[in-house]
Assembly symmetry: C2
Homo-oligomer: 381 residues x 2
């Protein structure tokens, strides 16, 4: 039986695009060198400033995927030869290390077991041993494992040193009520196709005052200094991703109408509900300290996560598998762009799929647990 409604997308990026945003994406284009675009862009920037809760307008947008803004972080805040620590606890941590090496930074890799979160004491020790370290590159939400690295705690370590804390928050920004200035972060990277609920192709780069003082001129396309100058005036150095910027204005409005505190609460509720539901089925949550953005599941012995995903997909629920060394070992259900009331669909598909694969439990078990977990939050909300 093919699902009438087609596919529902529970992947950690891209995520479902809300109707309000799709309406903007389907509109006729406008030119970017116009007062109309300038005004819309400045408004978008104002909304983004509210999102990150900062007074300074220290951020730029790029027409690129999130990796482009990661590249920009490495090129704009560091010089060749600079020593940095890359926290490598998943595929995206590996990307930090690769980028650093490609652009000739002196990269110390701090290996973290995949699924675990980085131990702040390990970072502190490594920094003591390397007082000349110029930066720590880390993920907030390492979406390949589903682990959350507590960047707020890491910032306590770096903020009084000469070390910049560079955070890939591609699957955290717009989920967590991040306050980069208050927390003491130095660079924060975001991407459009995650909690901003847009198509991929727009990336965000926020930076602190002290990071700004380090700005270099190593890149042409990803030149933060040039972009900042232009973007503060509502323009860009090169042709911007016009339709994504207009759509971002819409999705930022949605996030701010809900309020970032409530957005985070919503994701926390979903995350707790999913955890209880998964465990009620006898499956385990893979990461030690799960990110609120997604649920990463270790299936029971003998159940192939890829077979499970195929069964769920047959029911119209698209999930994500493992990446890199986790391929074939886990599967991931994203919460981004989802409402509390969306998850019973994913859980129902999981229940049906598990039973098809011969796993035994009482139907309704996972959904029931989920509902009892979210009920207090929903009731009070």
């Amino acid at each position: 039986m093919k699902p009438l409604k087609g596919e529902r997308i529970f992947t950690p990026g891209p995520v479902e695009i809300p109707d309000r945003v799709r309406e903007v994406l389907g509109r006729q284009i406008i030119h970017h060198r116009t007062p109309e675009f300038r005004e819309a862009f400045l408004e978008t920037r104002e909304l983004f400033k509210q999102l990150v809760d900062c007074k300074e307008e220290n951020f730029v947008f790029f027409a690129s995927s999130g990796t482009g803004a990661m590249e920009a972080s490495v090129l704009n805040f560091f010089e060749e030869g600079d020593k940095v620590i890359a926290v490598v606890g998943g595929k995206f941590g590996e990307r930090w290390a690769e980028l650093g090496k490609k652009y000739r930074l002196n990269v110390i890799e701090l290996e973290v077991e995949w699924g675990k979160s980085v131990d702040p004491e390990a970072v502190e020790k490594l920094l003591r041993e390397n007082p000349d370290c110029r930066g720590v590159l880390v993920q907030a939400s390492e979406s390949s494992t589903g682990a959350y690295h507590d960047v707020q705690v890491l910032a306590q370590i770096t903020k009084d040193t000469d070390t910049l804390l560079v955070v890939d928050a591609i699957t955290a920004l717009g989920v967590y009520n991040m306050k980069p200035h208050e927390w003491g972060l130095d660079v924060v990277v975001g991407g459009s196709q995650k909690a901003f609920m847009l198509p991929p192709g727009l990336s965000m780069l926020w930076f602190s005052e002290r990071a700004k003082e380090r700005l270099t001129d190593r890149s042409y396309y990803f030149n933060v200094k040039e972009e900042l100058k232009k973007q503060k005036e509502g323009q860009t150095a090169f042709t911007p991703a016009i339709s994504l910027i207009l759509a971002l204005r819409e999705s930022l409005s949605m996030l701010l109408e809900e309020g970032m505190e409530r957005v985070e609460e919503r994701y926390r509720l979903i995350s707790e509900g999913m955890k209880r539901a998964i465990e009620a089925l006898g499956l385990s949550i893979f990461p030690e300290n799960p990110s609120l953005s997604l649920t990463t599941v270790l299936p029971p012995e003998g159940v192939d996560p890829e077979a499970l995903r195929r069964e769920m997909l047959r029911l119209g629920v698209r999930t994500a598998g493992g990446q890199g060394k986790l391929k074939g070992k886990i599967f991931r259900i994203s919460h981004m762009g989802m409402d509390v009331m969306d998850m019973p669909v994913a859980l129902s598909a999981l229940e049906l799929a598990l039973r098809s694969l011969g796993h035994s439990f009482e139907f309704g078990r996972a959904v029931g647990e989920y509902l009892s977990a979210v009920h207090p939050g929903v009731k009070d909300g």
Copy 2:
């Protein structure tokens, strides 16, 4: 009187997006690591292969604006210290020179008076004087002046040497029936928001077999070698601009349904009609050898092009002004994405605007000339 239909966009990028394409852009997103996307992407690549009329699949797409693919050309086909000639006859020629210098190529700037096309003999002479020259960087259509540089003739000079001919065809690809392999070009850059009639945010990079042999590893985000490997399999190294790729499939289909010969004929007809119309009003065409993509107009003595553009805009017709040293001296009307029957709107706005500014002529003069110029082509088509 405000125009009921709002703005009509006659700028040389972005250009009007056809309804067929907008419908695709407004759809719900799909995930990129799926057979569905892979199939669509491979189909898009197949269509692009037809567009450039090549057997080899030597091209990649990037999630970036056109400048990103220009950066990719400089980083992937040249090493630090390589000597190149940059043809500088407008703002985009300047960009080639800037990019080359930023990434430490040894750039010889061949200055061309803005509005003129490069003299192939000047290139030949410079190449004789610099036999160690590794590349010639040029625009096909220099949209800041409206001039066309005859890259087919330039290729005759470079093809039997060790010099790569690198062509920014951002406003030429999809207008001219370009056959890069047959013509002997080495690198061709395209951008989505021009004749492909999409929003900005997707760039294209085609290259010859001999250019492929030179591929380096200097870039991470814009790494052609990595992208080519993945893209031939229907995937990408990093998250692609999913919605733009799906939309490109649609617009490539439109171009190929019409047929690239006919597409070029359409633009040639428009271009000739516009030339005669402009001259009938006593205005001049600025470039010596105009690109088919746009009409660049030098207004009559005493008429401020910016005032003229404001008047046209009041009537709902958005044109482009001059850039760089041509600011306030010319104005530009794009043909890209336009049908023969669209241009009378722009010309009518021009006539009304000119009269408002006190220029005297008989109403219908420009449109009449345009119609008589295009009539034979329309009749036979």
